[in-house]
Structure formats: C-alpha cells, structure tokens
Symmetry: C2
Subunit: 207 residues, 2 copies
DNA sequence: ATATTTACATACAAGCTTGATTGTATATAA
DNA sequence: TTATATACAATCAAGCTTGTATGTAAATAT
C-alpha cells in the first residue's frame, strides 16, 4: 500500500517533523541527514522530499510550531488587555515565570528551544532566522515597556529609570536566563532556581 | 622546499588557526572542511593533519586563544585585588564595559565569540564545552558576588537583595547582552547602546 | 468506470569529506 | 658527516549525502 488519504498524509508530515526534532536534538542540525530523519519517522527519503523541499524547510516548520504561538501568548500573560487590573510588575513576573514553566512541562517546546539555541549554526540560509529573532525581541521589549509604563503611572517603581531601560534590562536578563536554563541540562545551576531569579529581578524594581 | 624550522612551523600552526576562525565564521563549524581551512591557510590538508588531529582539535585551539585569558582579566577589572579602593559597583560596571569594548575593538575575539555562540552546534564531542561554559559562569558569578558583598558592606546598595541574587541577575543580564550584541551584527538594536544598558543595570543597584 | 493526481518507495549519478598512506626535502641531533 | 626526525605535499580508497528521476498503487476527480 502506498497512497494514503489526506489525513494520513498530514500525519506522516507531522511524524517527519517530530522525527526531525529528535534527530536535530541528538545530532545537531548540520549533521542530521534526511535519511536519519526518514528512518526515525519510518518512511523513506521519498516521503520527506514529497512533504519538504529540503532540510531547511523542515527546520522552519519546527520553528513555526513553537514561535508562532509564542508572541500571542505574551500578550495574554503580560496583561496587555486594557482592562487589566493586576499589578503590572506582577504581570511581568508571571509572564516570565509562565514561559519557564512551559519549558519545564512542555518537552516539545524545550527541545525546540534547545535546537535553536545550541544545536544549530546560524549561517547561510539560516542567517535570516537571526533577523526574525531580533525582530521578535523588539516586539517583546515593547510589550514589556508598556507594562513598565503602567507600573510607573501607578507609582510602583523603586527607581527612576525609564520604562524603556527597565524593559531592555528585563529582556536581556530573561534572554540570558533562557540560555542558561537550556544549557544547564542537569538543572543543578540555574533551572532549579529560575523562578526565584525572576522574582528577585522583579523585586529589585518594586517600590 | 618542504621542511621548515620550528619557528616557521609554529607560524603555519597559527596561520591554520586563523584560517579556521575565518572559515568557521563564514560557513559554520559543521560545514567547514579541513580542505577549506587548508586552502585558506595556503597549505594542504597534510599540514593541517600534522598540527591537529582533526577539526575538533582546531576548534578547541581557537577557543583557548580567547577564553583562557578571559578569566584572569576578570580578576583585574573586577578589582578583586584586596587593596582595591574604588566603588565596587563602578568596578563591576567597568568590568562589563571593558568586555564590550574589547569585543568592539578586538576582531579576533569578536569572531570567536560569534563562532561559539551562533556558528557551532554543541553536540557529541562538543557537548563537553557546555560544561566548561557552565563552570566559567559559576566562577564569574562568584567574583561578581564578592564585589557586591563589598558594595553591601560599604552600604552602597539601594535594595536589600542578597549579593548572591544581585550577582546572578547581573550575570544573566550580561549573558543576554552578549548574545544580543553578537546577533545584532549591524549594531542597530543593541550594540550602539550596550554601554548605556550596562550603566542602567548598575544604576538600578546604586543607593 | 476511467483518468489523473497523490503520496510515497526505489534507484541512480555525482560530488564531497575523511582518514590513511606514501613521498620527500630539509632541520637537527649525534 | 650521517642518521633520523620533522614538516609538510600528494595520492587513494571508502563512505556518506544530496538531488533527481523513475516506478507505483491507491485515492480522488470526472
């Protein structure tokens, strides 16, 4: 039997993506072969080539699985809905903690982050991804800044630093935390205290 | 003419390392060939294999060029000499700014950082490097913590966060900054304001 | 009912990379 | 002065990847 129904085909597409994620994680993107991926997905390279043009396309498919929903969720957790009533600083804290908790519980997301951060070389055609990352950062910073502006308006801030500066500092802190969280695979250095680190970071700003 | 004097041989070794740095930067470590490196260094693969066992050894040679001196310099700039009289917070600030300035001026160092951060896949034999990175971080954090302890003793701190928590926050901030600084190749997002970001970060702690 | 896609599997050609081997001219040690 | 180790260059065999081309059976359209 060869030809499958459309639903079956979509399943094999997902199986290929899942397989690619496992293979990328284990061998790194560059040293992962379409044959590796196909074998892991219990198909042949023919199937892979049918669904994807090449390895790069699979990579982007994996990336989109996690990073497309990411931005939207940020809006929620950062309380950017206008009628939000909670302490903005607490909202920032919760938003960051929420991401860490997601990473802890969501294996798929954790693996994708790990691939993007330490199992991938941003060179050639992958260099464009860097620009996407930079742009994501910009929009994230803006959203954090808005929250800090609300905090400032409500006279909740301990320092007289601008919301912009606070947002940049928070973003860089969290970027660093994510990197360390991922690299600290056994959890002994950063993972176990990530939530505390976030709370300290925010407490430093509370009046 | 083939056989060179010892000094000549050492020069070709350095030429190979320099070439490897350029090739790694341009093509990523995984897709860099010993042939690429040899050609760039104006030698044959025979010379490369004479000086290095394989690509991994070249990688480590490049890494040691920058990261071995790094730890020592940190001791200086962080003012860990006991007779240091300057404001500890200013010393931390200067230390971080000094690293950024080094990255700006020292092409070699900047390229090596870029290779290690976004042109290399930490998998297989490279995974051990992750542990080295984690350990480096630990010692760095300790040194920053000592400086914050001095600041606390001198009653210079605005918050009542522990020196440990402040050091971790600073380290994560700076790690994030380094990553963004490297990724922001055209300098429009982070590089141009890196020094200001550091000063804001430290000012947040000043009484 | 037949024609035509679809969703793969199989086969093939080409290039690339690696490691090993061999060759060799020259420093350097004895 | 001679022997040997050094610092490479050149060659070779083997395997691995990739892209493409072709085959094919079943689903779907007509």
């Amino acid at each position: 039997m060869v030809r499958k129904t459309k639903e079956d085909a979509e399943l094999t597409r997902l199986r290929i993506i899942d397989a690619a994620r496992a293979v990328f994680l284990a061998r790194g993107v560059s040293k992962s072969t379409l044959e590796h991926i196909a074998t892991k997905a219990n198909v042949t390279r023919g199937a892979v080539y049918w669904h994807f043009k090449n390895k790069t396309e699979i990579f982007h498919a994996i990336r989109e699985q996690v990073f497309l929903p990411l931005i939207d969720r940020m809006d929620d957790t950062l309380g950017l809905a206008i009628d939000s009533t909670e302490n903005p600083l607490t909202q920032i804290e919760n938003s960051l903690c929420h991401t860490i908790n997601e990473l802890s519980e969501n294996t798929e997301m954790r693996e994708i982050y790990e691939i993007m951060m330490i199992k991938c070389e941003y060179v050639g055609e992958f260099a464009t991804v860097l620009h996407q990352i930079l742009n994501n950062c910009s929009s994230l910073i803006e959203k954090i800044e808005i929250a800090y502006q609300r905090a400032q308006t409500q006279n909740l801030l301990a320092s007289n630093l601008s919301p912009r500066a606070l947002a940049l500092d928070t973003h860089l802190f969290f970027g660093g935390l994510l990197h360390m969280w991922i690299k600290d695979a056994d959890g002994s250095k950063f993972r176990y205290q990530a939530i505390d680190l976030i709370k300290s970071h925010i407490n430093l700003r509370r009046k």
